[in-house]
């Protein structure tokens, strides 16, 4: 401090000159005449030139700040890209569903899948559509790919669906090519099974399995899957037919609930006949 004071003392004439020149320039800057406008223009040009010349010298703090801003922008853009990608995929899914909705002859209720279990023995999905939307217990759940399951329980806004990958699930099915009938069930694992198909009947790998007219729960012709393997089991009357499900349950996000109710007259008649 004392050293600084000594320096100021030693060069006081120069400090005084600098001070008064700055004061004079400050007074001049208050004017708004052509000279000052011109000097300002020259000043800006000179400063610009100097800045341009020195622009290659990196400013640490500026770079740090710029980095922060760029990181933030990057984050925002990544988020935006993600959203756009999501929107694109949703768009594709919805387009497919829309196509299905236009081709099906039944009235359908669109529903978003808001919850699902896939690794239990009795797997279900939760749909964001309920009684208020017209969903009732027993209605089939489908996508454009095929059969998903059926409604198990409802609330005003939500409903629970039993999916194909559920030990309690049963559906009458047939092989599209050979019209061989069977029952679709699931006993765990990747594939569903088509049961009760005698060994003598014609079923081949690649055949399409779909719901049959025998079903009172599902309309006929809904695709269930493709035959993945056919095994002749020794000591059994039936073949073991594994079905690769048409619906990818892991990627299930939107479904339709079909307003298909069992035919009560048919059910009553069948019940009466059994008694």
């Amino acid at each position: 401090m004392r050293r600084l004071f000594l320096i100021v003392q030693q060069f006081r004439e120069y400090f005084l000159l600098a001070l008064l020149v700055v004061a004079s320039v400050a007074f001049m800057a208050e004017n708004d005449n052509q000279q000052i406008r011109r000097i300002r223009a020259i000043g800006i040009a000179v400063v610009g030139r100097v800045q341009e010349t020195l622009s290659f010298v990196p400013n640490f703090f500026q770079i740090q700040r710029e980095n922060e801003v760029l990181r933030q922008v990057n984050l925002n853009l990544a988020d935006e890209v993600n959203q756009l990608r999501e929107a694109r995929l949703e768009n594709l899914r919805l387009r497919r569903l829309l196509g299905f909705k236009e081709t099906t002859r039944y009235e359908v209720i669109p529903a978003k899948v808001v919850g699902k279990s896939l690794y239990l023995l009795r797997n279900t999905i939760t749909l964001h559509a309920g009684e208020k939307d017209g969903v009732r217990v027993g209605m089939p759940i489908v996508t454009d790919a095929g059969l998903v399951g059926k409604i198990l329980a409802t609330s005003p806004a939500y409903s629970i669906g039993q999916i194909v990958l559920n030990r309690d699930f049963r559906a009458s099915a047939k092989i599209q090519r050979s019209r061989v009938d069977g029952i679709i069930a699931w006993e765990g694992g990747r594939y569903s099974l088509m049961k009760n198909v005698p060994k003598t009947l014609d079923v081949k790998v690649g055949d399409i399995a779909e719901t049959s007219e025998y079903s009172n729960t599902y309309p006929p012709g809904l695709r269930i899957g493709v035959v993945a393997s056919v095994t002749q089991q020794p000591g059994s009357l039936f073949q073991r037919i594994e079905i690769e499900n048409a619906v990818d349950f892991t990627a299930l996000e939107e479904v339709f609930v079909m307003k298909f109710q069992p035919d009560s007259a048919r059910m009553q008649l069948e019940l009466r006949a059994r008694r």
């Binding site: 004439e13 000159l17 007074f27 011109r38």
Partner: protein, 168 residues
């Protein structure tokens, strides 16, 4: 500086400012007016040194700017620097010799030139007037006229000095 002396110098300064702003235009030649304030600044610099001359230059210049009212700060800047330059020639021992000789004129010429270069280099900005032409037409002629006018105080100083020498 004593108070009475300060008052005397302040009064002289005020009178010189009045002369500069009112009467000197009557002796202008071709629109060129001598700069009595520069003469006074050189005198103050030789008499009291660089700091006094620099401050006096700023105050006098600012006063002229305020009275003139067209470009506040321009005279303050040019006269501050002029006072500073004149202050370089301060020498307490040779002060009276310098004031009473041609050196005062030479110094006045130099300081006036510095003053006019600064003044006109800013004044011509943004106008159609070419700098060198303006400096020659107005700056150099003002310098010449002011230098000529510096002979008047030289006579005064030399007479006062002669009287003092005679009195010893």
């Amino acid at each position: 500086m004593k108070t009475s002396l300060s008052i005397r110098y302040a009064v002289i300064t005020v009178i010189l400012i009045l002369i500069q702003t009112t009467f000197l235009r009557f002796i202008s030649v071709g629109g060129v007016t001598p700069d009595a304030i520069v003469l006074w600044l050189v005198y103050l610099a030789l008499r009291f040194g660089q700091i006094h001359a620099t401050v006096a230059g700023f105050v006098l210049g600012l006063t002229l700017d305020v009275i003139g009212g067209d470009f506040i700060g321009l005279s303050a800047l040019s006269k501050t620097v002029s006072g500073f330059v004149a202050g370089y020639f301060y020498n307490e021992e040779k002060m009276e010799q310098t004031l009473a000789s041609y050196r005062y004129t030479v110094l006045t010429m130099l300081v006036s030139m510095v003053h006019n270069v600064i003044y006109f280099s800013i004044f011509v900005q943004g106008s159609e007037m070419p700098f060198w032409r303006t400096l020659f037409l107005y700056g150099m002629t003002t310098t010449a006229y002011t230098s000529v006018l510096s002979f008047l105080p030289i006579f005064g100083f030399s007479r006062a000095r002669g009287d003092r020498v005679l009195l010893r």
